[in-house]
């Protein structure tokens, strides 16, 4: 017996109509890599899937003014190979490269990664670091939330029932901004993130830090900017000691958000080192002398 029905939407308006058609428990289907597994475990998730993966406008990646807009059904492969993304947000391309393996990247979508909102979702820290916003449509309304507002807690978002995440957009960072995305997993491919960090920053002519953005994934229930880390860097001259101190601050902020957990014994030293290394690479300084442990 069929556990669910399948309908393919050809455009966004049709997808919204189908998603809100009464008499069905509908769910949008994009890459299918998460939803198919979920439906095998929980057959009552929906009784009809609306396939949005072949809607051309949801694959578009384009610049509008100072923003880059990424269609929600753009696959990880499409995003990581896109020249506009590579020029304006290499950390997002890097994050997409770390997802699964070729097969998963060819199917899985950035929109799906956000809407599914796993605590370990690789694109989320990069998107939050880029101050990305998400555009969500319902038949009557339009919402524009920052990605960190959209994701409430693991696997929980603000997307209303019958709503559809249609695109993600980020303001293009100033030209001199440097970014780093690091992922810690058991192996290079097909690994669930143990920790990820995304960092962006730039210095002014005098060499002082004028912008510092720092976000971690898999460290806290919510993906957000680590404000103490960011504040500790602004106005400072980058030094190895400053980076190490930021690493320590990051672990304190993580503990504040998540409490002490079974994994803390591992995550605290790991996050401390990853933070210092990521920031050192953003601000182009060497940690070699101070890091000799």
């Amino acid at each position: 017996m069929e556990r669910f029905q399948y309908v393919r939407a050809t455009n966004v308006a049709e997808a919204l109509t189908l998603l809100n058609q009464p008499g069905y428990k509908n769910r949008p289907l994009a890459g299918s890599t998460d939803l198919l597994l979920l439906m095998r475990k929980k057959p009552d998730v929906c009784d009809r899937v609306i396939d949005i993966s072949l809607i051309p406008e949801l694959h578009r990646i384009e610049q509008q003014g100072n923003h880059v807009i990424i269609g929600a059904a753009a696959t990880f492969s499409e995003v990581l190979s896109n020249s506009l993304v590579n020029q304006t947000a290499p950390i997002l391309a890097e994050a997409c490269k770390t997802v699964g393996a070729v097969q998963i990247r060819n199917m899985g979508t950035v929109g799906g990664n956000v809407a599914n909102a796993a605590a370990c979702a690789d694109s989320l820290p990069a998107l939050v670091c880029l101050n990305a916003t998400a555009r969500v449509l319902t038949p009557a309304e339009e919402f524009n939330w920052t990605v960190s507002e959209l994701v409430l807690s693991p696997n929980k978002t603000r997307i209303p029932s019958g709503g559809l995440l249609v695109s993600l957009q980020y303001p293009i960072p100033p030209l001199e901004t440097r970014g780093i995305f690091l992922k810690l997993g058991r192996r290079n491919a097909m690994a669930i993130s143990r920790l990820t960090v995304a960092a962006l920053g730039r210095v002014d002519i005098s060499g002082r830090i004028v912008e510092a953005r720092f976000v971690t994934g898999s460290a806290a229930p919510q993906i957000c900017h680590f404000k103490d880390v960011e504040a500790s860097l602004i106005g400072q001259i980058p030094t190895p000691e400053l980076m190490l101190a930021a690493g320590k601050l990051a672990t304190e902020e993580m503990t504040e958000l998540s409490g002490t957990r079974w994994s803390s014994e591992f995550k605290v030293p790991a996050l401390s080192a990853m933070t210092a290394r990521a920031l050192a690479r953003v601000f182009q300084i060497s940690l070699e002398k101070v890091e000799a442990v």
Partner: protein, 161 residues
């Protein structure tokens, strides 16, 4: 639900439940059993096929998503002149890249997918390209050797015209 797919260049029609995965449609309805079921959760790559030219896990995709589209399975990979192995498959044999053989259909398609997009890959790129395909026999070295040797041979052949 009615299905029409272009599988290995042949238009195939069948009827199956809407919740059938592409893997089960290929194996149970179209009787193309070259595509293997390993983990059925997208971890092992044994079920890899090309959908509109892109490598995907057929266990993680609905047959309905592939409806009206082009699928290439291992049955569609063979020498042009006969049904024997093509150059990549022959290299797998020559380099001892096949032991139990269960992962090989997926490995060959991952290799073909890589060589289609990158005709001259280095070993790191080959390893990244087959990172989603698990092999519990060979330790991968021979598989990487076979793909690399095929890349070199194809390039030589192309440069000779």
């Amino acid at each position: 639900m009615k299905f029409t797919l272009l599988v290995n260049g042949i238009k195939m029609n069948t009827e199956a439940p809407a919740d059938t995965s592409l893997l089960y449609l290929l194996r149970d309805y179209l009787h193309l059993t070259g595509t293997k079921e390993g983990c059925n959760i997208g971890e092992c790559g044994a079920c890899s096929v090309l959908l509109d030219g892109k490598l995907v896990n057929s266990c993680l995709i609905l047959a309905a998503q592939a409806n009206g589209r082009e699928v290439k399975t291992i049955e569609g990979v063979h020498a042009l002149e006969n049904d024997g192995p093509n150059d990549l498959q022959q290299a797998f044999i020559d380099y001892g890249a096949v032991q139990c053989g269960f992962c090989i259909p997926g490995m060959v398609l991952a290799g073909e997918s890589l060589l289609n997009s990158n005709p001259n890959p280095n070993r790191t790129e080959i390893r990244a390209a087959i990172a989603g395909n698990l092999c519990r026999c060979t330790g991968y070295q021979q598989i990487v050797d076979a793909i690399q040797a095929t890349a070199v041979k194809r390039q030589e052949k192309n440069s000779r015209g």
